[in-house]
């Protein structure tokens, strides 16, 4: 992993090189997180590139990305480690004869116990520990970027369980004791604001809110990701998306949807937003029937206005 980051600009440049165009606030948050060794809680509406940010950060820091997707009912055996009882039992069965042989020459119960005691360590070792993402991140030989995705979907207990990891980069495992991170990972948590996160969690993290991008930034993003799109069409498209976001929609179109639409228009060889084409491809941008209907109604007036300019 890269250990020295010279400036915020270096991050912005590297992100841009990877095709992740971001505002300065985003780069600054990553910079501060890396320098202050603090986790970052990234919030924002779906589809604004929260997960992409973690990928870009991992590529920039030349560190492996370890991802933990949260869901309701996620528990430590899925997130941290699982104890492989089955394997342990199987080993005991298979080794029964061997054990019998080893214990054959002891004459008293105490002596057998003592000999077994010496072996005990072998039965509570890493062999039977199945590491899950969090443990991977802590034991990784090089510092990693740990992405805890959609933390708001996990239960509150899981959130509390993460606190130790987030503040001290360590975790307690009953069978093994406390595992401290070999190298402090850069931790990114994302949330879609499905529920309010606890104050304790927020206090331990830096907080970054990614809003829908402004027109200029969005145009830049489209230009980088879909270079084949005609410049004039790009401007029209971005303006239309921005216009849609001002409407009272059930689900507002995000950047990912803008990009999908741009790609579709390239495939269709469109050179300007014409009514028929826009109406046919609207379902790439809007995901509910209600929104599509509303947008269809808005469209003619909007196109007319655009034509006048």
């Amino acid at each position: 992993m890269k250990t020295r980051i010279d400036s915020v600009e270096e991050i912005t440049r590297s992100f841009a090189g990877q095709g992740y165009i971001c505002s300065e606030q985003i780069a600054l948050a990553i910079y501060l997180a890396a320098q202050l060794h603090k986790p970052v809680l990234v919030e924002g509406p779906p589809g604004v590139g929260k997960t992409e940010l973690a990928k870009a950060a991992a590529a920039f820091l030349e560190a492996p990305l370890i991802r933990l997707q949260c869901y309701e009912g996620l528990d430590e055996s899925r997130a941290l480690y699982e104890w492989k009882y089955g394997k342990q039992l199987l080993y005991t069965q298979l080794l029964r004869d061997k054990l019998g042989g080893m214990l054959a020459d002891t004459d008293s119960l105490e002596a057998s116990m003592e000999r077994l005691g010496d072996l005990g360590e072998a039965f509570y070792s890493d062999t039977f520990l199945e590491p899950r993402p969090l443990l991977h991140a802590l034991r990784s030989d090089e510092p990693a970027v740990l992405l805890i995705d959609e933390i708001d979907k996990a239960d509150q207990e899981f959130e509390a369980f993460l606190l130790e990891l987030l503040s001290d980069f360590q975790i307690s495992i009953p069978e093994l004791g406390t595992v401290k991170a070999k190298h402090q990972p850069l931790v990114l948590l994302t949330s879609n604001d499905q529920r309010e996160l606890s104050d304790a969690l927020k206090r331990r993290c830096l907080h970054l809110y990614i809003p829908y991008p402004a027109a200029e930034l969005e145009a830049q993003i489209v230009a980088t990701r879909v270079p084949d799109l005609d410049a004039r069409l790009r401007e029209q498209l971005v303006a239309f998306i921005q216009h849609l976001r001002e409407q009272d929609m059930k689900k507002l179109p995000a950047i990912s949807e803008t990009l999908d639409w741009a790609r579709a228009l390239v495939l269709l060889h469109a050179d300007s937003l014409e009514h028929a084409q826009v109406a046919d491809t609207l379902n790439l941008v809007l995901k509910t029937e209600q929104d599509v209907t509303l947008a269809r109604e808005l469209l003619p007036a909007w196109l007319r206005k655009l034509g006048k300019r």
Partner: protein
């Protein structure tokens, strides 16, 4: 920028209602040290990343930041708008004999910049964080002037007044100069008040708002925000309680099946999840003029808690009885309340009629998971009370609660007949202030789990 200035900023943010722990404050300082102060936008962003943990605090942060660091932008000195070319009357050091007089002359001899600096120093030595109400400003600016050593100048003016005409003329000059310095001191104090006092005042105000009767509450502007805040707090508190209480008994079948892999050793236990509760809340609000204020806040509160109380049906009555759930699901609570009041409000409540109408409309949906909350003053205009209908309703539901906006002593005065209804209510409380309301909703959520 010294650490002190930043911690003052944190203080001001706390005053504006943000919750900032010492740990976060020290993070902010680390971050500020890292990015430097030269580029304002970046400095601003660094503070925002470390101090603002929820998006709804953002406007308060922006406002405080702008106010707090505005002074820095306009000039070199944070103390603000002192005109640089303030005409100080010529000093006359030769005439000063006693140390006090020399001190006064020294103050007079200082350049405007020096004077400004002196004021800033004096201000820095004072603790403005204790300022709470606007009337304290005079006291604080007097203290500030004293700390600057202006007391000596006052004496000098008095002394010169006694002297010959030329000395008297100089005294007049000094008076004008002093008046101007006073103005500046007052300005300085006003700025400090805006930073610290406003926040303190807000906390004080919130306390007051919570204890004011609903009837007077409508006059205040930021009540909506307070109601939402209280509701959010309660909601997050109960969300947690709901989760933990949901785990049920051991699922023996799944545990056994899983244990086969491990030679019959139940290595992993499975638990039955208790099915999600089917509780339903039905609220009936009296919206006649005497009670409508309380109804407004009760409904706002309940609908602000949508995440934990998903199935609320609400009804209102005054001269007519009608369901108002739709108004609330379609419009924001503020709008909905107004609509309902327009549609139904009037005088002449008839509780017996209301019970009958409610029973006729909802009887099929009343079950053991339903809680009925009635908000009203039980003033029945000397009509039959209809307690037997309430009893019939009570038999079909889990519980009936009665909230009365009047104090307990008046529950049976005049045409009020609370006594007739009380036997059928599991709980009856006075509900006249936001504090009462919060307590009621809190115990409601507790009783639902």
């Amino acid at each position: 920028m010294p650490t002190r200035r930043l911690s003052e900023f944190v203080q001001a943010l706390r005053g504006a209602g943000l919750r900032i722990s010492p740990d976060e404050a020290s993070q902010a300082m680390d971050a500020a040290a890292l990015v430097g102060y030269a580029r304002r936008q970046r400095f601003h962003d660094a503070l925002a990343v470390t101090l603002v943990k929820q998006q709804q605090d953002r406007p308060a942060f922006e406002e405080t930041f702008a106010r707090f660091f505005a002074a820095e932008d306009s000039g070199v000195d944070p103390s603000g708008d002192m005109e640089p070319a303030m005409p100080a009357p010529a000093a006359d050091p030769a005439s000063a004999q006693t140390p006090e007089e020399q001190q006064a002359e020294a103050l007079l001899a200082s350049t405007p910049e020096q004077l400004q600096q002196r004021m800033a120093q004096a201000a820095a030595e004072m603790d403005f964080t204790q300022m709470e109400v606007i009337t304290q400003q005079g006291l604080y600016s007097r203290r500030l002037l004293m700390n600057m050593g202006m007391g000596a100048v006052d004496d000098r003016v008095l002394q010169l007044d006694q002297g010959n005409p030329s000395q008297q003329a100089r005294a007049e000059q000094l008076r004008q100069w002093r008046a101007r310095v006073r103005e500046q001191a007052a300005g300085q104090v006003r700025r400090q008040f805006l930073l610290h006092g406003v926040g303190k005042g807000r906390a004080l105000r919130e306390q007051t708002l919570r204890a004011v009767p609903f009837r007077d509450l409508r006059e205040f502007r930021d009540v909506q925000a307070l109601v939402r805040k209280m509701a959010r707090r309660l909601a997050s508190l109960h969300q947690r309680r709901m989760k933990t209480s949901r785990r049920g008994m051991l699922d023996a079948r799944r545990t056994m099946v899983a244990s086969i892999r491990h030679d019959g050793v139940p290595a992993k236990l499975f638990w039955r999840r208790r099915p999600p509760r089917k509780t339903r809340v039905m609220v009936i609000c009296d919206v006649s003029s005497s009670v409508s204020d309380a109804a407004r806040f009760l409904l706002q509160f309940l609908y602000a808690m949508n995440d934990v109380l998903p199935r609320v049906r609400s009804f209102a009555f005054a001269s007519r009885f009608d369901e108002i759930t739709d108004d609330f699901s379609r419009y924001s609570p503020e709008v909905a309340v107004g609509q309902v009041l327009d549609r139904l409000s009037g005088s002449g409540t008839d509780y017996a009629e209301m019970f009958r109408a409610f029973q006729a409309r909802c009887e099929r949906e009343l079950d053991a998971h339903t809680t009925v909350i009635i908000l009203g003053d039980a003033r029945n205009n000397y009509l039959p009370d209809g307690a037997e209908t309430l009893q019939a309703i009570r038999r079909r539901v889990k519980q009936v609660w009665w909230l009365n906006p009047e104090s307990r002593g008046r529950w049976n005065s005049g045409d009020a007949v609370m006594d007739r209804y009380l036997p059928h209510c599991r709980l009856a409380r006075q509900c006249a202030t936001l504090n009462d309301l919060e307590r009621v909703v809190d115990s409601l959520l507790g009783a639902l789990d």
